[in-house]
Structures are given as C-alpha cells and as structure tokens.
C-alpha cells in the first residue's frame, strides 16, 4: 500500500481509540454512578420497610460493604475495577475492597501479621487522617461554640 506520511497519520488517527482520558472519565462516571444509584435503591427499600433515614443510611453502607467484600472474594470486584477506575475506588465499596483484598492476598503470611495487619494497609491511613480531621473540626466548633 502506497501512501504519504500525512495519509498514514490520518489513518492511524482514525483507527486509534478515543483519548484514554475521555474513556476513563466516562467509565468512572458510569460505574461510580451505578454503584451510587444501587445504594439509593437499597436505601429507599429499607426506608419503605420502616427504617428511619439515619438508620437506613448506615444499613445501606453495611449492605454495600458486604456485597463488595463478597465480590472481592469471588474475584469479581477487581474485574469491575479494571475498567471502572475511580468509579470503583471512590465509593464505600472501594474502601471495603481495599480492606478485604490485602486480607485475602496476605493470608499466607499468617492470620495476625498477614491477614489482619494488611487489612489496614489502605484503610488505616483513611481512618487515621479522617478521624484526626474530625477531631480538629470538633475542637474548633467546641472552642468557638459553633455546634
């Protein structure tokens, strides 16, 4: 096939996929949005079963955490994460996956320093900085009477 470099460039441009950034962004949006919509559906189901808004929110979190960890056990969540990117990381299901996944992976290194310790490789920093930020916030509103 004879073609000029310009023609060749044009051809590769057409056949190469859309910029990975746009695709990543849309996939994260779609998968993350679906996980949140699933959470909303679960929450409304609990509310129509008579739970208060506050309780249904917590129980929804627990339900999503359970589903995510179960899917991590079956190696399904990592597969969704492969194309969901931040859409599977940012929801609470991603936090749950970050607890379960190293626990499973490092089980072979023992039940104490393997499984249990590695649970907090990612969850630990989240809890440390989240809790400390909330304490700083609490001190500020306590001292200034803003609560």
């Amino acid at each position: 096939m004879n073609m000029t470099p310009e023609e060749y460039n044009e051809l590769t441009k057409q056949s190469s996929p859309r910029s990975p950034f746009i695709k990543d962004f849309l996939m994260a949006f779609a998968i993350g949005g679906l996980i949140c919509a699933l959470g909303q559906a679960i929450m409304m189901a609990y509310q129509s079963a008579g739970m208060t808004e506050e309780v249904s929110g917590s129980v929804t979190s627990v339900t999503l955490v359970f589903l995510s960890i179960l899917l991590t056990g079956f190696n399904v969540y990592p597969k969704i994460a492969k194309f969901g990117g931040a859409g599977t990381l940012v929801p609470i299901t991603g936090f749950a996956n970050a607890v379960a996944s190293p626990a499973l992976e490092f089980k072979s290194e023992g039940l104490v320093l393997g499984l249990a310790a590695k649970m907090f490789v990612i969850a630990g920093p989240v809890i440390v900085y989240g809790t400390c930020a909330s304490i700083v916030y609490g001190l500020i509103i306590y001292l200034f009477g803003l609560y």
């Binding site: 990975p20 990543d24 994260a28 949006f29 779609a30 993350g32 949005g33 996980i35 949140c36 919509a37 959470g39 909303q40 679960i42 409304m44 929110g57 917590s58 929804t60 979190s61 627990v62 999503l64 955490v65 960890i69 179960l70 991590t72 056990g73 990117g85 931040a86 859409g87 990381l89 940012v90 929801p91 609470i92 991603g94 936090f95 749950a96 970050a98 607890v99 379960a100 626990a103 499973l104 089980k107 072979s108 499984l115 649970m119 990612i122 969850a123 989240v126 809890i127 900085y129 989240g130 809790t131 930020a133 909330s134 304490i135 916030y137 609490g138 001190l139 509103i141 306590y142 609560y147």
Partner: protein, 122 residues
C-alpha cells in the same frame, strides 16, 4: 416517578464525584490510598463547612456512598456528639458515627479472607 428522579440524582452526582477522582488518577501521581484519604479528609472539611449536607439532601446516596460522605459522617457525628456529651464528643463522635461501616468491613473481610483462596494476579 419520584423514585426514578431520586435514582437519577444519585447516579449523576455520585458519578460526577467518582469521575473527578478519575481525573486525579490520570493527571496526578496520587496513589489510590492517597485519593481515598484525601476524599475522606475533604469530606470532613466540606461536611463541617456545611456545604456537603446540602449535597446529601439533594443527591441522597449519590453523596453518602462516595468516601466524601464518609468524611461528612465523621464531621456530623462529632457535631452531634458534642451537643450530647460536650468536649468528650470531640473524640467519640467520628468513629461512633462511622462504626457500622468500619466494623462491617473488618468483620466481613475476615470471614471472606478465611473462606476464599487468593487469586493469582494475571
């Protein structure tokens, strides 16, 4: 119809919050652990500042399911605990309000890790 609108709001707002996280992954060198940590701390700040509760009111699970909502719950827990217990609430409020999610993650992870075999990464 109201159910559909609630689901759509959750999808759109939750999707947007996740897509912003994707921008951090693609355009910065932030690791997933740092993004999760950043989202929770940002949630404490946005929740404490009063903006995030309004997003929760609008989007429901679209705002509570992402980790920003986890941070928002930490801030809300501290605020409510101070109202009930005074200064002690500064310490008890955050983890108290998020205890269900954290305890569930730890407990279910232990069970699953004991039952299942790790998959080889291919």
């Amino acid at each position: 119809m109201t159910i559909l609108i609630a689901l759509l709001k959750a999808f759109l707002v939750g999707g947007l919050i996740c897509a912003i996280g994707q921008i951090f992954i693609d355009y910065t060198k932030l690791t997933p652990a740092r993004i999760l940590t950043g989202y929770v701390v940002a949630g404490v700040i946005l929740g404490g500042g009063g903006l995030y509760p309004k997003i929760v009111e609008f989007a429901g699970a679209g705002a509570t399911v992402p980790l920003l909502g986890f941070g928002n719950t930490l801030a809300k827990g501290v605020r409510e605990a101070i109202q009930e217990e005074g200064l002690l609430g500064v310490l008890t409020g955050g983890l108290g309000a998020t205890a269900a999610g954290i305890a569930a993650a730890v407990f279910f992870s232990l069970i699953i890790a004991l039952i299942f075999k790790p998959k080889s990464k291919s």
